[in-house]
Each structure stands twice: as C-alpha cells, then as structure tokens.
C-alpha cells in the first residue's frame, strides 16, 4: 500500500543522508544514515512546517528514543492524527 507520509519522510531523510547509505526504507536505522544530530532537528522542523504540527520539547526527547525511519514516520503520523 502506498504510504504518502512515509514516502515524504524518506525523501526528506534521503536529502540529508550520506549518499553511500544506499536505499532507505522504514527499517533503516537512524544511526546508519550518517546524519548529524542537528540535521535530524532540521528534518523535524521541516515536518512541523509541512504538516502544521508542533513537536514539544518532551516530544523532542522522545525522538531520541526513535530507532529507525519507520519509528519517525509513526511519531509524525500520531501528531498529525492528534491535530485532526
């Protein structure tokens, strides 16, 4: 099933990731992306803007416990759902 949100987040991650990482899927470990921690913050800001959601500080802490791209997609999905 096509998952638009997942595709969008993977595209954003890909733009920041080390080109040598290869294909990025929902199972890709965030640590394997070769992304600076501040870049993850950039991606989060982009997602906030794109979806009109707000990630609170305690949520940012929660981001630290995210392991892979799929976890990131689900976290954003939850925030979008809350907003709706």
């Amino acid at each position: 099933m096509a998952d638009q949100l997942a595709d969008e987040i993977i595209a954003k991650v890909k733009a920041h990731a080390d080109p040598e990482v290869g294909e990025i899927t929902l199972d890709t470990d965030l640590n394997a992306l070769g992304i600076h921690s501040l870049e993850l913050t950039e991606i989060i800001f982009d997602l906030e803007e794109a979806h009109g959601i707000e990630i609170e500080m305690n949520t940012v802490d929660a981001w630290n416990s995210l392991k892979n791209v799929g976890d990131m997609v689900e976290a954003v999905r939850t925030l979008i759902a809350k907003k709706a």
């Binding site: 920041h16 080390d18 600076h36 501040l38 800001f45």
Partner: protein
C-alpha cells in the same frame, strides 16, 4: 631558568597560490600572482578581482562534520592536516591533552552569514539553518581543527582583524612556555570572498582596480584573498627529543596597539611592535635579512610602514630585503600572517627572498629595497613578518634558522 625556545616542525598552507606549502612557495619564488577574476554568488553585476583558491583539494572528512563547517574552518582543518603530517605529530600516538591549537580569524564564517541572510530576507525562508551558529562563530576553525585532529589541549580562536595569525603565533608560543601544552598548532584562516564582505570592503574604497601593487607609486589599494596557514610549534627540547625535523625557530613576537583611529594607521604603533618583537627575540636590527611587510598596497599603509621600518632599522633599513607577498596571495585577512610566515620560513630555509610582484614605479615615500618582481638569492639568517590591522592592533613575529 632560560626561556624555552619555540621551534616550528610542521607547516601547512592553502591560498590562491597553491593548495600546499610547496606549491605556494613555488609561486612566491616565481613572483606569480594568484589574483584573477572573482567568481562568487550575487557578485555578477560587474567584474571584480580577488585571489581565490581555484579548487579545494580532495579531503577525507566525515560528512556529519562537513555539514557543520564553513569554508574558513575547512581551510584551517586542511592546512592543520598538512602541518601535522610534516611534523609527524598525531594525537593518536601522543598524549592528546598536551596538544592544542590557536587559530586566528579576522572575519568569521562569512559564507554562512550570507547564505543565512539570503535565505531569510531574499528567499523568505521561515527559519535559519540549524548549522548557522556553529558554522559562523570565529572560534569554529580552532574547534574544528581540534575535533578533526583529536587535539584535547588548550584550543581557542583569536581575532585582531588582519593581524590575527601573528597574535595566534604569540598566544600559542605562550601556551608552551607556560607549560600548558607540549605542542601547539597555530595560524589563521579566512574565506571572505562572498557578497557581504566584498561589498563592505568596496564601501571602504580600499580595493584595487586592476591588481595589488604594494610600494609601487601607482598602487591603488588592496585585493581580497582567501586562505589558511597553520604551523606546528613545540619547544626545541621537545622537538629534538622526539627526533623531529626543525624547520625554523619562532624567535619572538611583539605586539602593540595604535590606540588611535579604527582604520587610519600610525607610525608609532607598528614601530613599537617591531621593536618589541626584536627585543623579545633578542635580535639586533643588523641580524634581520628579510622583512615580509604588511604591504597591503594602499597608499596609507605602504608609506607609513616604510617610515616605521626606517625608524626601527635605522641605517640597516637599506641593507634589508623587504617584500610584500600580498602582491601575489592578496590580503587573506586573518590568514595573512600565517601565509606570510610560510614566505619567511622558506626564505630562511632556501636562501631566497620572495619578490613584491606587480611593481611598476618607484615611490620616493616607499624607498626600501622591496625586491621588485624578481626573487633575490641571499642568505636569510632571520626574518621579520609585520601584521597591522584595523583597530590599530599590531603584531610582529620573528623567525630564525636553527
């Protein structure tokens, strides 16, 4: 206890003249200028000149570091790498807490500043890049050098506009003499060839129209350049104990302030700094064979510097070989002193005084032997490098052969 002697065991450099010390020195000896047409974003409205690095060399650096680093700090990291290799110094097989770095800058991460304002004010982006602060800060070159090369001793930036590198040499030598470190990297870096900085210098009406002609009667200003230079400093005892090749000695440093005008130089400030340097190095004026002038190519600097040199060196001023290598690498702002230190150290090592390029007409107010256009072979026992700056912050260093 006698004061520790500080020696140089590694050198690194990058500027329009070349991507390493060997190629920079080859250009300097040949009197080849690196000044050409400037190519930079948002500066296409008219032709401009500058001394730009043609192409950055390939450099192996973690992508995660690269996104957080401005060009000026990257130049510092690259030249530190060259200097460390030559010195045979590595934080992985020495105590990293005993190795530090002092890196000067006269500007800041200018490219980042421009990109940031452009995004916010022109492209109406809703927020700045998260990397803006760590990329811009004037201490970034020092911090990045320490991170990339694993140095855990005293690490900080220094800034005194165009004298920053020479202040960095003095501050780094002090760290060793005060026992805070065994090895210090020291130098400077600047990458000012971007819209904001270039336009600001244009506003000062200090820029040359065709090229940089220091001490020539038809000189009409300075040319902006970019670059970095780093040297590895350690005590003579430390260097000999580990069997390092000693390139030269950092014999002394002298600092002063004009306490006058923010832009107009004085004769007294530079005079005091040169005298303090010679005293610090325990050198007589007759010991100096080569003086690398601040020599910006502006009317005011070159005339006042000539007067100050005459005041310090007296009769010996006429036996002195003087040159401004800014005629070739242009004014690399805070990196100037570091690139000019390469000229001094290599002059001592090879017995060749690099020339003042682009020289055309004698100026009675600049009547020293400025080594016009062609390098001169002569034994150089000791060399002095002048750096004066906006703010009247002067720093002069002396190098000797070992």
């Amino acid at each position: 206890m006698a004061r520790q002697r500080i020696v140089i065991t590694g050198l690194g450099g990058i500027c329009a003249l070349g991507n390493d010390v060997a190629s920079i020195w080859d250009s300097m000896k040949a009197g080849r200028s690196g000044i050409g047409e400037l190519s930079a974003p948002h500066l296409e409205d008219k032709p401009r000149i500058a001394a730009q690095i043609k192409q950055l060399p390939a450099f192996d650096i973690d992508r995660r570091r690269l996104v957080a680093i401005d060009r000026f700090a990257l130049l510092a990291v690259m030249t530190a790498d060259e200097a460390l290799r030559q010195a045979g110094v590595s934080a992985t097989h020495m105590d990293p807490t005993r190795i530090g770095a002092v890196v000067g800058t006269g500007i800041f991460g200018a490219e980042t500043a421009d990109e940031n304002y452009w995004a916010l004010l022109v492209e109406n982006k809703s927020r700045a890049s998260v990397f803006t602060v760590p990329r811009i800060m004037p201490s970034a070159p020092a911090g990045q050098v320490s991170m990339v090369h694993g140095l855990r001793g005293p690490v900080f930036g220094v800034t005194s506009a165009c004298a920053s590198s020479n202040h960095a040499f003095a501050a780094a030598a002090d760290q060793i003499r005060l026992g805070r470190a065994d090895i210090m990297l020291a130098g400077g870096a600047d990458a000012p060839l971007v819209f904001g900085v270039v336009r600001s210098w244009e506003a000062l009406r200090a820029l040359a129209r065709d090229t940089c002609r220091p001490f020539s009667a038809d000189r009409d200003g300075l040319v902006l350049g970019e670059g970095a230079g780093i040297m590895v400093l350690e005590s003579y005892e430390h260097a000999t104990a580990r069997g390092a090749t000693i390139l030269a000695e950092l014999a002394g440093a002298g600092m002063s302030a004009d306490a006058g005008d923010i832009v107009a130089p004085t004769i007294e400030g530079p005079t005091t700094a040169m005298q303090a340097c010679l005293a610090d190095a325990s050198l007589a004026v007759e010991d100096i064979d080569y003086l690398n002038a601040h020599g910006t190519g502006t009317k005011a600097n070159d005339q006042i510097e000539t007067a100050a040199i005459r005041r310090v060196f007296g009769k010996h001023a006429d036996s002195l070989s003087v040159s401004s290598t800014k005629s070739m690498h242009a004014h690399c702002m805070g990196a100037s002193g570091a690139i000019e230190a390469i000229a001094c150290i290599m002059a001592i090592r090879d017995g060749i005084v690099p020339p003042t390029a682009n020289y055309r007409e004698k100026d009675p107010d600049c009547d020293l032997d400025v080594t016009p256009n062609v390098a001169k072979e002569r034994k150089v026992r000791a060399a002095v490098s002048n750096a004066f700056a906006f703010g009247g912050t002067n720093a002069v260093v002396a190098f000797t052969g070992v």
